[in-house]
């Protein structure tokens, strides 16, 4: 890295606002995924104006820029794949405005997801997107990745909860899109930018909707002796028109790993558990809880437990939300996947995943959002062993391909990033990808912002992880 650039950045941000030492850079070369990339320096802006100055310097010195929140992402979105400057938003963490009456908040991108909920829950409100990492991940990161979480089954992913953004474009121009109202005339630029994985603009301010806490929450744990019974239960709940707020599944292997760590009370000898939540007015929560318990029993649930109070509920959720952490105790590395399938294809897909694991000699756990068909197979391996790494990546590719063949998608909430960009042809034709490339260029013409993410790198440049020679065109039909 050009020492002159570091000096100029320090001039703008102060010496404490720039990191360029090797040991510092090492800490920023990874995120929650299995990918890595070394940045040349890390900067910590305090304002939109700081961001503008950083972008101008990046342009002058012709280096890439990558935005970053807490680094909890699961697809390499915040990794500096081509080096350059990582813009970390951890100092832009002010909640700028809370509007209780209109159920809106204006936040800087570095505000931690759960901190916003904590700031408004005394007024009966909360921020609905609830990724498992919500204690650490930032709302800026949620906006970039269009993050989900268990309760997006009922309340939608991040884009349903964002009404306006302030952007710094790669040419350093500051623009506002959307507003605080529920709609804004003109093209839905806000909807386009949310989920663009930091490749369109750096987001410096976010206007979000706040949701009203429900009167009653019912949390149920269904315990099953076979995985098929659990997945059939999910399909049956959906087809009966019951609308849980969340419907999560943990398989036997995962729930044992979690239980050893969290002691949530998951029965160790069961094949699968479903964690199901219903919310709403008291009468709705009660009626739906009763219906769900009936459906579980109809599909041979060994036991249906109902959380008696908030403490029991929290414990059950602690088991779910710390699942990845629990796995981390057992394996040197694990690869969290994020495929989506139509909900009716759960049973067949889980069988396929087990078969893929067996064939590659890899342990694969499953903990996922069953209600919306968003799978999170966890592949355990040792990253230091190149053979295991290669098998893990091959197994992941096979599973993703199967999801797409089932009529599904490559990612439900973690994003494409640098993890799955070479798999995009599984869902999209060359023409689709070319149009996406041109839309990105409307924002980011030089590709300086978060380079080499989301879209495949094109033949010949960059490594292709998985052989995708047979590309079905028309992934959504």
């Amino acid at each position: 890295m050009d020492a002159k650039l570091v000096r100029e950045l320090e001039h703008v941000l102060g010496p404490a606002g720039v990191l360029a030492g090797t040991e510092d850079l090492l800490l920023y070369e990874y995120d929650g995924s299995i990918d890595e990339g070394r940045p040349d320096c890390i900067v910590f802006p305090r304002s939109t104006n700081d961001v503008v100055e950083i972008v101008k310097l990046a342009n002058r010195f012709d280096v890439p820029i990558v935005g970053r929140g807490s680094g909890t992402g699961l697809s390499g979105g915040a990794i500096a794949r081509r080096g350059g400057i990582i813009v970390t938003f951890s100092r832009m963490k002010r909640i700028l405005a809370i509007d209780i009456v209109n159920q809106r908040a204006v936040v800087e991108p570095g505000v931690v997801n759960l901190d916003l909920t904590r700031a408004v829950e005394k007024d009966g409100l909360y921020f609905a997107p609830d990724p498992s990492s919500q204690k650490a991940c930032t709302i800026g990161g949620n906006v970039s990745e269009n993050s989900g979480g268990p309760h997006t089954l009922a309340y939608g992913v991040t884009s349903s909860h964002v009404t306006g953004l302030e952007l710094v474009l790669p040419d350093a121009q500051v623009l506002r899109v959307g507003s605080s109202t529920i709609e804004t005339p003109g093209y839905d630029l806000t909807g386009l930018v949310v989920g663009s994985e930091g490749t369109f603009a750096l987001v410096t301010e976010i206007t979000v909707k706040l949701s009203r806490l429900p009167e009653q929450v019912g949390t149920l744990l269904g315990v099953f002796d076979t995985v098929d019974d659990a997945t059939d239960t999910v399909a049956d709940i959906t087809s009966r028109g019951i609308t849980p707020a969340a419907c999560e599944m943990l398989d036997a292997w995962t729930l044992r790993a979690v239980e050893a760590f969290v002691h949530a009370g998951f029965p160790l000898d069961s094949a699968a558990v479903l964690l199901i939540e219903v919310e709403g007015v008291r009468e709705a929560a009660e009626a739906q809880s009763a219906e769900i318990a009936d459906v579980c029993r109809l599909h041979h649930a060994r036991e249906v437990r109902r959380a008696a109070d908030g403490r029991e509920r929290e414990l059950l959720w602690k088991g779910r939300k710390n699942a990845f952490g629990a796995i981390g105790r057992l394996s040197p590395s694990y690869y969290v996947m994020d495929g989506v399938i139509p909900r009716t294809k759960l049973t067949v897909t889980l069988r396929h995943i087990a078969e893929v694991g067996k064939r590659h000699g890899l342990q694969i756990g499953n903990v996922f959002h069953a209600g919306d068909g968003n799978l999170h197979p966890l592949i355990l391996f040792d990253q230091r062993d190149p053979v295991q790494l290669a098998s893990a990546i091959a197994a992941a590719g096979e599973i993703m391909k199967f999801c797409v063949e089932m009529g599904g998608a490559l990612t439900g909430e973690h994003g494409i990033g640098m993890e799955k960009n070479e798999l995009m042809p599984l869902m999209f034709s060359d023409a689709d990808l070319d149009l996406m490339r041109r839309v990105r260029a409307a924002f980011n013409p030089t590709g300086r912002l978060n380079p080499d993410k989301v879209l495949p790198l094109g033949k010949g440049c960059g490594e292709t992880r998985v052989n995708v020679a047979q590309v079905p065109v028309g992934g959504i039909t």
Binding site: T184, A284, I476
Partner: protein, 506 residues
Amino acid sequence: MPTASPVASRLAELVGGEHVLTASTVCAEYAVDGLEPQAVLRPGSSSEIADILRFAAAERLAVIPMGGRTKLGIGMPPKRFDLALDLSRMTRVLAYDPRDLTCGVEAGVHFADLNRLLAAERQFLPLAPAFGTRATLGGIIAAGADSPLRHAYGSTRDFLLGVEFITGDAVSSKSGGRVVKNVTGYDLHKLLIGSLGTLAVITRLNFRTFPLPPQQATFVATFASADAALAWCAALAKSPLEPKIVEVLDPGTARIFAPAATRVPRDGWSVVVTAAGHRAVVDRHARDLAHLASEKHAAEFVALNDDDGDAEQHALLQCISEFPNMVLETCPGAAIFRIAVLPSAMPEFLRRVGAVTERDISQRPAPGDKTPEHKTSERQTLERQTLHRATLVRVSGVVYIALLPTTNNANEHMNGVASQSTSTSATERVGDLELVQACCGLIDLGIAMGLRPVIERCPLPVKRALAARGRSIWPPSGAEHVLAERLKKVFDPQEILAPGRFHGGI
């Protein structure tokens, strides 16, 4: 069908002669803001659409895609218009698995037909759009239509899962998918919502469907003023209740609805609340809403939750969904604003709307009114004010305001008699001038309050008069417009798709 012109005969090669219509009577039916196309094309497949667009781009012929032709009046008059692309043959339901609660349809599928299909499985699409019997799903999405159900189910962007479309340079493309949760690739389909066909021709839409609630009931609480009605809505928002629909009607709207919705009082501001779900949930809403109404001194509270009420409930909800349709049937010359307003700003906005429209309209005496303006009693002022304006508030944050010109005798309109007589062009001009002034007043008020008012419907002369005054039915665009222009270039480099209709002259 004679296809005399060389353009028509080349188009006939693309879609078949019987699907190229050039008769002037037919073309007149497809006019957009007075501009008639040279030909109407009725393609039967996406590949035919791509062929048409390739031809049109090469010849620089302007194309406007359309479905049920119920919302062609939205937008500014097109700069050019050569080919009407009628998607009414694209009516296949391509995928529907009730157990997945997802469906995929061609753009020309009628909303009513899809909902009938879904209803057989006790499911529905959470939309109750205007022109519900004729509107197509492609048109609903392209026009950015909303409906009272957005209160509980969000807007179309929340349940539109993916779209296949063809860009202005004839590239067949898609984004999104058909599963309910998906962040794969850029959400290009969100751009198409409300784009009025200026970016691409939508060919297929994938939606999330929802289970039909087992029970539903509607309640009407009526108040003397807008402030009281909105205060009640604010109290309702703070309660644990979770209604599906909350809409406020002013007396003008109540009168327009009156022939169908007989139990809505005509001389107050009525809040219409629909609850749905299990019987116990609906009963709970019935109890709590009645309590809340008496607590806040509603002038009247009507529960439409018995067997008799059911027909009335459906009639009322139908009126609310069809608000623009009913306004235009009552008064074809009306202008209808659509304005997003935060709930807290709504009371002040409505107060000031009253002041602005009254001031603009009270310049001349009402028809047959001999009383000088300043001597009218309060009652008469209310009477006349409500003759000129009809308001529908979606409490989640959108207000529709219809301004009804009175030149053709408003009283007659308000009694539900649509004026069929062709008024002389002179009176039209007087009425339009009055309407233009009122529209400008409302636009200025909105902008002064930091809002972005859109006139969704108004007569063509009003659009022209606005343009002559350097205004538009669209609010002024901001710095972000540069992005919209760049995106237009990406999707439609030849500017052949509905040029000039959209925000900022796109």
